[in-house]
């Protein structure tokens, strides 16, 4: 037995026993334990294997800095790559070490370490090329990776995402953070205090202090109590992982039950009281289990009653470890190695655990644990993310915060204050900066604040294997190799050796690596510089970022006001242009249902819910002039009460939308754009209104969502509507094709517009959305005696394709000009300027071999062409595409397949036969006019 649970009181524990397994072994811990403290108390020395060489590794740290102890957890909830030092132990947990099999203690890949000399940093760039990387890669992939994803694990979902604003966000609940939060809260400021530990207190949880006459632990308790009373928001187990634009701080809260929670906090000021992280000391085999951060050793002892060993060496290059040696003296044999006195460790001995250290003076000390301190690195990640610049402190041997960043202060050990007096003072200074006058400083007793440290960076040519990055297995030799090969820029060093790129992101290793590179290249540490600090500070669950956005809440589709009625009628709903709409109705297979609906629409009458159709009103004395500018077609000549079909172009000349413009009155138009383009067209109209027109004489209102549009189409549509009776005459004389008028339904205005997307006599009835249900029910009711059919979008698509009517974005693409769709009159006739006009006269627009809209006839007796098939032309060297099929259906009306396509020079090639290719199969098609049915348009008035 080496590490063990002491019988001394522990700050964080209760006496309740918690059972768990580690690599299959049944173990016990106490309530309040982390997985790591329970493992230490249970004398588990090997907690994991390193990423590359599968070296045995023990606990190094006690918090987020831990590079070794990563575990997968099941049995309670499923966690992958959980950090044992920050994960609370829960009864029933099955804990497995990652990257080791069958167990961390007996890993079958431990042999890899014997070949380490042949696989140093970046060796893979130099080999595995012959005969082919693909031969080696699968094996390497299997070896890589840490934890294992459980493919069928279930999750508490969704994760909460909370937006918060406050006067002051304090990151870190150690002495500096607590004091700041308290004083700011006392001054009436709204305060959020977060700490990534399981409880508040930071270093006061394991260091002795007397503050305001009470011990540190009690002082923390009182602070917590008062913060609660003052209404400050205190979040423990909560990591501030990133500072983003305009001082948005992202926090991730780990909760004992349920998914983690994302906080987006926008504070007026941020205090970073994020503390400092202890560094290792460089000596041979400094990665052996049992070699631990001195701070961690003290924390495990005082907080969890877990002692790292019985024969302990405390090795240090600074003055902070005095308390560590004192704390262990009553329960263990303690020897100190103080680098400040000129003696240092040159190497550790041991196999699966350290058993001795060898000193520079030649002596050997037997030991079962080595608690080391190579100094402290301030945690300045968030400061750097906030665009703060660092400066090098030659005395304290740290990078520390340089010039202030607006609204961000860095305090306590995070600003390289290592004595409690200085810590409180730095908090006071920051408080004064945000206007908290003369904060009362806590009274300290018996606390010396002087911090001394001597330089102990790793040196070139050190004997043995001196580890820098424990998780990624980077040694001093790897850094020497990088220097030798000229990977001397700090970013090259990182990428070439993978130093600091493991899941701990180099919290304990980066500075030592930089210092060695500086030495190797004759530069100073600040000349080498640091890599960029990127979020997140510690890994954050993907679920926190996704929040509620999953399933139907991810990009939610828009819903029709009549959706429930359609469902009652057996509608199959599909998403079209962002709207959930009936594709077809009834129990039949899709193909049959669509054919039936289309057929019946041609024979009698169809009812169709066209509510998403754009209804953007344009009003005012400049409206006509404006419409002329917006549309490719001339619109100012349209008479009130009439409609006209037209195109809206981009400035590039590309057809953006097509549709009918209704002129209700002299100064009032309605733009009926495609349903999927409503937001885009509306924004476009606003843009040009504000840019070129007088906003007092032109007004735009998007009434799409407030207005439902119900379409009645087919030879019997007029009869049906006459029976409904809307107080308007449906005679051809008073309401001819492309005319509009007002009727009323039970006292509600109905706009009746006679336009047709089917080629048959059709009426669009637009009514307030909240009255649509009653009107639709009436249409259905009366429709029963007229053999009316409910028609979904698929049948409508078939009918419009028979007529050669296009759907923009389907039958046109992002290169289609209006001429390609057969509309060229405005080009010569329309004199006033309009959107995209100049682009229609470019070299490209005038090119004779453009793709143009055509019909494509099946001539081989086969079925319909697949949409997406290409017309092809055989050329000398192979073949090339002539364009493609954009729409293709079986026409029930014609009893044959029909298709539309964009084909090169198609307009001039009606009657020609071309090859059509789909997934390697060749067929032939005859080019035809787009309109396959009723080319004279007689059915509009039938």
């Amino acid at each position: 037995m080496t590490s063990f649970r002491t019988l001394q009181p522990a700050n964080s524990l209760t006496e309740k026993v918690v059972r768990f397994t580690f690599d299959g072994q049944r173990l016990e811990g106490l309530e309040g334990d982390t997985i790591a403290s329970a493992l230490l108390a249970s004398d588990v020395s090997i907690v994991g294997r390193s990423f590359k060489y599968h070296r045995p590794r023990g606990l190094w740290g006690v918090g987020v800095e831990e590079p070794n102890a990563f575990v997968d957890v099941s049995g309670t909830r499923s966690l992958v790559n959980a950090r044992a030092t920050t994960e609370m132990l829960v009864d029933g947990m099955d804990v497995r070490s990652v990257n080791a099999s069958p167990s961390a203690a007996r890993d079958r890949h431990s042999f890899v370490d014997r070949f380490a000399r042949f696989i140093p940093s970046a060796f893979y760039y130099k080999t595995f090329m012959w005969p082919n990387w693909h031969l080696f890669e699968p094996h390497i992939r299997k070896m890589a990776g840490l934890g294992v994803i459980d493919p069928i694990a279930t999750y508490p979902q969704p994760a909460d995402q909370i937006n918060e604003t406050c006067d002051l966000l304090v990151v870190g609940g150690g002495p500096a953070g607590l004091l700041s939060a308290l004083i700011a809260a006392r001054s009436g400021r709204s305060v959020v205090l977060c700490d990534d530990g399981l409880e508040l207190g930071g270093s006061l949880l394991h260091h002795r202090a007397m503050i305001d006459g009470v011990d540190g632990f009690e002082w923390v308790r009182r602070c917590r109590q008062e913060l609660h009373t003052l209404g400050a928001k205190v979040l423990t187990r909560t990591t501030a992982f990133g500072i983003y634009d305009h001082n948005l701080v992202g926090l991730n809260e780990r909760r004992p039950v349920g998914a983690d929670r994302l906080w987006r906090v926008r504070p007026s000021a941020v205090f970073l009281a994020t503390g400092a992280i202890e560094r290792p000391l460089p000596f041979a085999n400094n990665d052996l289990p049992g070699i631990m951060s001195a701070e961690a050793g003290l924390a495990y002892l005082r907080r969890f009653g877990a002692a790292a060993g019985k024969r302990i060496v405390v090795a240090t290059n600074n003055s902070m470890t005095k308390e560590v040696a004192e704390a262990f003296a009553p329960i263990a044999d303690v020897r100190e190695v103080d680098y400040r006195r000129g003696v240092r460790i040159v190497g550790a001995h041991g196999g699966s655990r350290v058993d001795a250290v060898e000193l520079s003076n030649g002596s050997v000390i037997q030991a079962d644990a080595v608690l080391v301190s190579g100094g402290f690195t301030p945690t300045i990640h968030l400061f750097c993310q906030a665009r703060g610049k660092l400066k090098w402190d030659d005395k304290l041997l740290v990078f520390r915060a340089g010039e202030d960043v607006p609204n961000v202060s860095i305090i306590g050990a995070a600003d390289a204050n290592f004595g409690l007096g200085e810590v409180f003072e730095s908090a006071g200074n920051a408080l004064r900066k945000i206007g908290c006058e003369a904060p009362a400083m806590p009274r300290l007793e018996g606390h010396s604040s002087s911090f001394e440290i001597v330089e102990t960076w790793p040196k070139p040519k050190m004997e043995g294997r001196v580890w820098i990055d424990l998780q990624h297995d980077v040694t001093t030799k790897d850094i020497e190799l990088a220097a030798r090969e000229n990977f001397v820029s700090v970013e090259h060093l990182k990428r070439y050796t993978t130093l600091g790129m493991a899941t701990d992101q180099g919290k304990t290793s980066n500075l030592a690596g930089l210092a060695l590179m500086a030495e190797l290249t004759g530069r100073t540490v600040p000349e080498v510089g640091t890599t960029t600090y990127r979020p997140p500070f510690t890994p954050v669950p993907f679920g926190s970022f996704a929040g509620a956005r999953g399933g139907v809440l991810l990009n939610p589709p828009r819903r029709l006001v009549l959706e429930n009625l359609h469902r009652d009628d057996g509608a199959h709903l599909r998403e079209y242009g962002g709207w959930l709409r009936p594709a077809w109705y009834g129990d039949e297979a899709e193909e049959r249902a669509v054919q039936r609906e289309a057929m019946q629409a041609r024979k009698s009458v169809a009812l169709f819910d066209g509510s998403p159709l754009g209804k953007i009103e344009v009003m005012g004395p400049q409206a006509a002039e404006f419409m002329d500018f917006i549309y490719y077609n001339t619109m100012s000549t349209l008479k009130p009460g009439r409609c006209r079909y037209g195109f809206i172009l981009r400035e590039s000349g590309i057809v953006y939308d097509d549709g009918v413009l209704v002129r209700l009155e002299e100064n009032r138009f309605i733009v009926s754009c495609s349903s999927s383009h409503v937001p885009g067209v509306y924004a476009m109209l606003e843009e040009w209104r504000q840019d070129r027109f007088d906003r007092r004489r032109l007004y735009i209102h998007n009434a799409t969502a407030q207005t439902a549009t119900l379409t009645v189409s087919g030879p019997r549509s007029k009869v049906l509507l006459d029976a409904v009776g809307l107080g308007i005459s449906f005679d051809d004389a008073s309401l001819p094709h492309m005319a509009t008028g007002w009727g009323s339904f039970d006292g509600t205005q109905v706009r009746v517009t006679r336009v047709s997307f089917t080629g048959d006599r059709s009426y669009e009835l637009s009514i307030r959305a909240d009255r649509a249900e009653a009107l639709w029910s009436r249409l259905k009711h009366i429709g029963q005696s007229h053999n009316a059919v409910l028609m979904g979008l698929e049948a409508l698509m078939t009918l419009r394709a028979e007529k050669g009517f296009i759907v923009t974005g389907k039958d046109s693409d992002g290169m289609t000009l209006p001429m390609d769709l057969g509309s060229s009159a405005p080009l010569s006739k329309k004199k006033v300027d309009y959107l995209g006009k100049r682009s229609l006269f470019t070299e490209e627009a005038q090119r004779p071999d453009r793709t143009q809209l055509v019909g494509l006839e099946v001539i081989d007796g086969g079925g319909r062409f697949p949409t997406g098939a290409h017309g092809v032309l055989k050329t000398g060297s192979g073949k090339r595409s002539l364009g493609y099929v954009t729409s293709s259906y079986h026409s029930p009306t014609l009893g044959r397949p029909i298709a539309l396509g964009l084909i090169e020079r198609g307009a001039a090639r009606h009657g020609e036969v071309i090859d059509v290719q789909h997934l390697g199969e060749m067929r032939q098609a005859r080019i035809a006019p787009p309109c396959a049915f009723d080319p004279e348009g007689e059915r509009l008035n039938a």
């Binding site: 305009h246 924004a683 606003e686 843009e687 906003r695 735009i700 300027d833 682009s839 470019t842």
Partner: protein, 88 residues
């Protein structure tokens, strides 16, 4: 998440805004526009690194305005409505 000050609605989340291009990229209105002049208007951009005036639409209120923002630091100097001397 950046906050942009809509001159009409105050500071709002970046997600509510749509970028409309360089301020001052005026549509050529003369009768004969050369191909180069037209393509310059359509495509060529200053794309400044640093403080630059640009046109935005606040999609939730539909108003265009000029925003002076730094494309490198993302700091915002201010915004003004087009009716108040902001220019397109």
């Amino acid at each position: 998440m950046q906050l942009f000050p809509c001159p009409f609605c105050g500071p709002r989340s970046e997600a509510e805004f749509h970028f409309g291009g360089d301020a001052g990229n005026v549509r050529p209105d003369e009768d004969e526009v050369s191909a180069d002049r037209w393509s310059s208007y359509l495509y060529m951009r200053h794309n400044q690194k640093g403080m630059s005036p640009s046109i935005w639409m606040h999609m939730t209120c539909g108003e265009l305005f000029q925003l002076d923002r730094d494309t490198l630091t993302h700091s915002v100097a201010g915004s003004k409505a087009l009716t108040e001397g902001g220019h397109r």
